[in-house]
Symmetry: C2
Subunit: 339 residues, 2 copies
DNA sequence: ATTGTATTTGACACCGGTGTCACGATATGG
DNA sequence: CCATATCGTGACACCGGTGTCAAATACAAT
């Protein structure tokens, strides 16, 4: 069909290709008249500049990477959607890169991803956002990057975080406000730093309400459904059974609900359950799950935006953006029955 | 760090860049000696050819698009993973493109995706695989494409299908083998052609077992959890209540299980439930869900492979690949209690 | 040794843009 | 009014590869 090049435009507009290029890039020193004329020819011919040629000349790829390792497909989908939005707006392409954060050769793998694909920058999701060796590798190669949900904030690199800790705190406060004092907690995967954040929020709420923290009420999960089941069994077999369980994500909370059902413990009458993430499953469970909704997609758009700012060396107001989580109360939590 | 170009290699190897290019592309008419020498220099210098420059010269982008519109994140993830695998193997990048199959300007949107990004080809998922106007648009622009799960197979374009109809047939046969005769069926979204396939499999199994098809036992769902709930209510309020319900996907089956639980109908003792897709939720439900597992990822890899074959004009053995679904029996189905 | 053919190789233009720089036209100012 | 700074523009090389074509070399047959 077409293959309109900059030369065609130049010819039609009666100017040199360099001038067309100037218009394309909004460079100064183009008279208003010629600029308008060129823009007109753009439309007339339906001209689309070639990112390849442009990139070849400027040593850019217009590619940014998105690195993740998260079994939660909803999370991944949201992150992709958010990042994609910004990429499309700016003529970049998104190179999605699912990988295993535990693989031996992770650094080498990411290094070859970057050099082979000549990425202009990378968006990192947890737990990559906190991997010191990875960050220093990127730095040494001068690859700009933006971090989603890092827990270490000691540098100047662009980061987007949510108030995980506060949300966890709020959820615990909420359970306490329902009258619960024996509140079980299921931790997330130790490799993910959010796990600590969420535990910390739980502890802070207890302290503030002068409820003694009891380590027996804390179980080590791994963000999986089955780990949730195991933790639930453990917690529910305690002599002084908890009247509420707060799991660090929805899959584990689902496991709790399943175990409760198996053991004929009524939710929420005898046991309140809360999760984290607002995964689809949280709406499909019976009862529906009280949980925390994180602004994943928004975090991704902000991260991508920050990254592009960095790549194009636009001054950024702040390298740290904080968005807020939202408590969603559904049917799995209820006031403690007075005995 | 580095920026090894073809000129560097040429210099080090004492040959012209054209010869290096020949080695790069495995072109004939290069003496064994020089070829080896060049390959050696490749390693020595860690040379990576620039896809940009290559593409600019050959009018390729090494980009292929993946178009989808599916709320099932697992499906999307599997498709991405499969397509990505092939892309990475062949030095292509995958441009993921979630969109809305019902939007007015769909054709224009995809057209601009293709021209703006200069895609070399596109992988289509349902329901795009069956959209005639889209296909003819691609054809007229000479954009190679591969279709996943089309139901119309009247052309020569590369396609990958699974035996949806047979799987649905098998599932129904299985329910019948458990003694069920009053088997409810929940249809999928009418825009998705698989919906018809699955219904057809159900009907064929009934016929073969000489069970009268009863339209009252068929409800119209939309692949969503809530539509599953509604259909379940409808089916379970029938005078001659079905003893088994086969839903066209797992989300709807989950809705059925929820409603059954609300109405105190024991699953599977009083009601067998079956789904389709093997979504994560199928393992987390209580009881766990009997379902059908489709080889989504494999379908995507095959589709991508076929597409790349078409792009590179490699002769393909067959333009149609068929993979097989797998029946997964879990706890939500049981033999009919003899009354 | 001579001619003919096949194989190996390189010079050079080109893909579609951008960077550098030089040149003419305008604007500024003393 | 002329010297100087600024603006607008185009010529040309270059980014890192590939296609074309002709030259150089190897091999075979006469």
């Amino acid at each position: 069909m077409q293959k309109v090049t900059i030369n065609d435009v130049a010819e039609h507009a009666g100017v040199s290709k360099k001038t067309v290029s100037r218009v394309l890039n909004n460079e100064p020193n183009v008279s208003k008249a010629t600029k308008e004329k060129v823009l007109e020819v753009f439309k007339e011919l339906g001209y689309r500049p070639s990112a390849q040629a442009r990139g070849l000349a400027t040593n850019q790829s217009f590619l940014i990477g998105l690195v993740y390792d998260n079994p939660n497909k909803t999370y991944v989908s949201d992150v992709q959607t958010g990042a994609l939005e910004i990429c499309n707006e700016n003529g970049y392409h998104l190179v999605i890169h699912p990988t295993d954060h535990e693989r031996e050769d992770l650094l080498a793998e990411l290094e070859s991803l970057i050099t082979d694909s000549r990425l202009d920058g990378v968006v990192l999701t947890p737990p990559f956002s906190d991997m010191a060796d990875l960050l220093s590798m990127l730095q040494s190669r001068a690859i700009p990057y933006a971090k989603i949900g890092p827990t270490i904030l000691d540098d100047e690199t662009p980061s987007v975080i949510s108030n995980d800790l506060e949300a966890s705190y709020e959820m615990t406060r909420y359970l306490i406000s329902l009258g619960h004092t024996k509140i079980g907690f299921i931790k997330g995967h130790p490799d993910h730093n959010v796990s600590n954040q969420r535990l910390a929020g739980y502890r802070r709420a207890l302290e503030e309400s002068q409820i003694q923290f009891n380590n027996d009420y804390v179980a080590q999960g791994y963000f999986t459904f089955t780990s949730g089941e195991e933790c639930a069994k453990q917690l529910l077999s305690l002599p002084a059974r908890p009247t509420a369980i707060f799991a660090s994500n929805d899959y584990m909370a689902a496991g709790v609900i399943k175990v409760a059902s198996q053991e004929n413990i009524a939710v929420p009458q005898e046991l309140s359950v809360a999760g984290f993430d607002n995964a689809p499953i949280s709406r499909y469970l019976w009862p529906t799950l009280t949980t925390v909704k994180q602004p994943i997609k928004d975090m991704a758009t902000d991260a991508a935006r920050l990254l592009l700012d960095a790549i194009n060396k636009r001054p950024l107001e702040s390298s740290l953006v904080q968005l807020t989580d939202e408590l969603i109360v559904r049917d799995s939590s209820a006031p403690l029955k007075s005995t």
